[in-house]
Amino acid sequence: MPGIHYDIAHMLGAVVLLLSFALLYQRRLFAIIQAFAAQSMVLAAAAAWQGYIQDAPHLYITALLALSMKAIAIPVALHRVIDRLNIRRTVDTSLGVGPTMIAGVSLVTLSILLVLPVTADVTALTREDLALALSVVLLGLLTMITRRNAIGQVVGFMSLENGLILAAIGVEGMPLIVEMLVAFAVMVAFIIFGIFFFHIRERFDTLDLHALENFRGERR
């Protein structure tokens, strides 16, 4: 029965979106990393499920990559970075939780309004999928905007990329090379971020990016 197949795919997508909101809601660094790991795990499940219903074995590789890299390796690495740098475990947000959540819901609405006219001739389900993926991307951006802490911003970036993968697995016939490239680019970005963390830390004794603004004399 194809109905329940697509329903499950949607539920997985929706859980990814929900975890994006969880990411926005968290205040502690470890909680943020946990939410991100959970999101990646659900994403891996979604990729495997899509591989099953689309009969596309290469999606299993995507699932495996998402699981091993984003759900296990990167969170562990981030934990170690936090331990090594010995930074404060709570995050200052530049916006309160309430306004952030309202902005998040507005972004979801925006992405739906954006996807609706573009995909007028496809089924409601594909439309919903694309809307979900776009919302996850926008929420990742919002996470990056509202965190002052560099690690929070990196996690926002990674969850943005989760949204891209969600869009890629939802569309039939996406070649594996695209997903591999995206995953690889994120790996490289993560390494660069890691180097940046240590440099910022060495220079300013903090990972709060407002220190950079002070340094450049942009802040009154």
Binding site: G3, I4, D7, I8, H10, M11, G13, A14, V15, L18, F21, Y25, V97, G98, M101, I102, G104, V105, V108, T109, I112, L116, A124, L125, R127, E128, A131, L132
Partner: protein, 321 residues
């Protein structure tokens, strides 16, 4: 035949009202027992809430000198409103006499009027605790009610009715499938239920600490049979919310009009099982989270509101209105 059905519906309605009344303290007791076990204590026996209620009913009422008629009338009003609301929710069968009036919006209105009188009574005697509890309760209500209404609207978009028995019929027919919006609505409704029933992340009914109490502060001045009625009402409310969640999201087992006694028996058994598993899950949840600060209620319930709003938005997309 129609006459027989109407008669049966009346009988079922009475059975349902007595059933929820009889099960309510047991449910609260079960939550307490499971919680105590999880915390490594033995805990009170399952029948303790029944004993407490009977003991309170036997005791005299102590009234403050300046208590007005409102203070004395409120327990009866609150109990009646919540009992009536609980009678509206289909528990084991949808063939109830009140089916025609079993509307979700009526349910919210009944609960809201009960809360209104309770908050007024909390302020009536003029103690500082009462006012504090009332103001907190109204703050929670102002956030929880829109969330609950939003959930109801999402369901109404999907099923095109707010009548509970029709919703049960629709869900039992299985035409819905797994919907994103329903998942969001379920989470939102769970959050509202936790807030409304004064459970742990929002309120802790087991303490009398001025920093945390909401509901307890409001009813601090009550004693004797008045207190028994208010306690029974809050126990009924827990059953009501569990039954509501069960009948909207897990309606399996509820018998439909015109089905035989076996279906009704299955309905009864599954209802009790649903309540029991709900109690265990609630106890698990309560022992695994910490009490929230009062200032974070807004974020918690705002989250519920946003989730239900998201659900409605997604429904709007998929049904293509």
């Amino acid at each position: 035949m129609i006459f027989v059905q109407a008669l049966l519906a009346g009988v079922f309605q009475v059975v349902q009202m007595l059933l929820v009344l009889a099960l309510a303290p047991g449910l609260t007791g079960l939550v307490r027992v499971v919680k105590a076990r999880l915390l490594g204590r033995r805990g009170p026996p399952l029948v303790q809430p029944y004993r407490d209620l009977f003991r309170l009913l036997r005791k005299d009422v102590v009234l403050a000198d300046n208590a007005s008629w409102l203070f004395r009338v409120t327990p009866y009003l609150v109990f009646t409103a919540i009992w009536l609301a609980a009678a509206l929710v289909p528990t084991f069968t949808t063939a109830l006499a009140l089916t025609a009036t079993a509307d979700l919006i009526a349910l919210v209105a009944l609960l809201a009027s009960a809360r209104f009188f309770l908050a007024l009574a909390g302020m009536d005697v003029g103690t500082s605790f009462g006012g504090l509890g009332s103001s907190r309760e109204m703050m929670i209500a102002a956030l929880a009610e829109p969330a609950m209404l939003m959930v109801i609207f999402s369901i109404a978009i999907l099923v095109r009715t707010t009548s509970l028995s029709l919703i049960v019929d629709f869900m039992l027919a299985g035409g819905v499938g797994l919907r994103i919006s329903l998942g969001l609505a379920l989470i939102s409704l769970l959050m509202v239920a936790i807030a409304e029933n004064a459970r742990i992340p929002v309120d802790n009914p087991a303490t009398h600490l001025e920093l945390t109490m909401v509901h307890e502060a409001m009813v601090l001045e009550y004693s004797g049979r008045h207190l028994a009625l208010i306690e029974a009402a809050s126990m009924l409310k827990l059953v009501l919310y569990m039954a509501l969640i069960a009948c909207i999201f897990l309606p399996w087992g509820i018998s439909e009009p015109g089905e035989g006694p076996l279906a009704i028996l299955i309905g009864l058994v599954t209802f009790v099982l649903k309540l029991a598993s709900g109690a265990v899950l609630l106890a698990l949840f309560e022992t695994s989270v910490a009490k929230m600060r009062v200032f974070r209620y807004g974020e918690f319930l705002g989250g519920a509101l946003l989730l239900s709003l998201l659900g409605a938005i997604f429904l709007y997309v998929s049904t293509g209105l």
